[in-house]
Symmetry: C2
Subunit: 249 residues, 2 copies
DNA sequence: CACAAGTGTGAGCACTGCTCTTGACAGTGC
DNA sequence: GCACTGTCAAGAGCAGTGCTCACACTTGTG
């Protein structure tokens, strides 16, 4: 491992090329039409050779799924961080996150479909995709926790009430983790107030985010609205309002 | 045309059998895996024979799409009508509609994916599907109009504000149509108040409906919540609250 | 240098959607 | 009753797919 052998370097390079080609094909034709043979053709290589680098077509899809989760996660993290650093209130941070999500989806529609659209039949996402899928959740949870702390989460305006036990342990833990990770000195105030209702509020935000993007991207608003970005913003603001997160104009 | 010839009857019967078989295959394997040859095998017939009754695989898909839109439309219409007749307030009617939508989606996941999931690549939905797709919209619009009339739409609590011109003419007209169709004697009050903000509110409701169903059905809440129905309800209530539609408990 | 591991090739299997030719049948006019 | 016309199912065939395998070749290592 000191100096990589020529073979190892060639392997890494070819793997990268393979992923590039696959990504291009995905962007051009969509996941369902992603053909291993076509990728091999693009690379000027026999189709069977690809199997030296990727276990199967589904394995290749898994790699692309992870890439997609990471891409959207990075975009949303960056947008949220930037907004937060600019001094935006949690409501505005949420809006910025959602806009980044939408922008990424519009730029990479097939990647979006791959992760948030219809699951590929007969394909079960392996567990190694989970940590990448969680990144967007962390952004949302952190924003809601922020709102919880600074008072812009007006739960009195919200209608989210759920019986105890609706939320899985792991989901509650994620919130606690994020809370302790982002805790600043001297504000242990809000921690014990983070409960199931808050987690469900995050679910609602995420559902609306995915729904608004899906509806627009898959053409269900075709011929219904001209300013789709405006409709998207309004939908996000409505969702925030619904869980008691005020968004100043 | 007076009495159908034996040939016509046989054709109608076979077409019905074909659709049954295709629906079964769709329910079992999903749209992407829907194979015309497999359907032909199920019917004990040569694959080429199927093309006498259906123009292509996409044509078959179109028939199934229309069936799906009609099924979900019927389910939601029935649920909304029943709730309304039972004297439920618009908020509760919305909840009932959403629950019917979710129930249908859970019962027919592949049909849901077919119409609200990733579009089949290279497949452009023909315009004859539009009237069937609109039915669910009519239900939502009618409910919001109802709320508009009886005062349960508290726009002062809502944050939905959009600049003029975000909504397409056709969408506004649909609202006007539904309003005049459901008008009772003596309440011409709300009509002029039906504007772009209200249409956008309907967009938001629909987005959340599709989003909440998608997220649950496609497994993005796996391991996150135990009572998925409760989370769904909470999401719907939050969406309603967000547009100013109060939902009494 | 020799052996083992890694790598690309092309043939092959079973499958797909779709087209086209072939041959069989039903309904209709003479 | 016979011939014509339109409908129909069947089967071969084309081009494509995922994937496996035996083979030849290159590379790294003992």
């Amino acid at each position: 491992m000191g100096h990589p052998t020529a073979r190892e370097r060639a392997r890494a390079e070819f793997t990268a090329d393979l992923l590039d080609a696959a990504r291009a094909r995905l962007a051009a034709d969509g996941a369902a039409a992603l053909s291993l043979r076509a990728v091999a053709r693009d690379l000027g290589v026999a189709s069977s050779a690809v199997y030296r680098y990727v276990p199967s077509r589904d394995g290749l899809l898994t790699l692309l799924i992870i890439e997609a989760y990471d891409a959207v996660g990075t975009a949303c993290e960056a947008a949220a961080a930037q907004a937060r650093e600019a001094g935006a209130a949690p409501g505005q941070v949420w809006l910025a996150t959602g806009r980044a999500f939408r922008a990424w989806a519009l730029a990479h529609p097939h990647s979006f479909s791959l992760v948030y659209g219809t699951p590929v039949p007969g394909y079960a996402a392996p567990t190694d995709t989970v940590p990448h899928a969680v990144r967007i959740w962390v952004v949302i949870v952190a924003t809601v926790i922020d709102a919880h702390r600074d008072g812009s989460l007006r739960t009195d305006r919200a209608m989210v009430t759920v019986p105890t036990g609706t939320v899985e342990r792991a989901a509650l833990d994620l919130g606690a983790q994020v809370a302790s990770a982002t805790a600043r000195a001297g504000d242990a105030t809000g921690e014990q107030a983070w409960g199931e209702a808050e987690v469900v509020a995050c679910f609602a935000l995420f559902s609306t985010l995915v729904g608004a993007t899906t509806v627009e991207l898959f053409g269900h608003l075709r011929g219904a609205a001209t300013d789709l970005a405006g409709v998207f913003d309004a939908t996000l603001v409505a969702a925030a309002t619904g869980i008691g997160l005020v968004v100043e104009p």
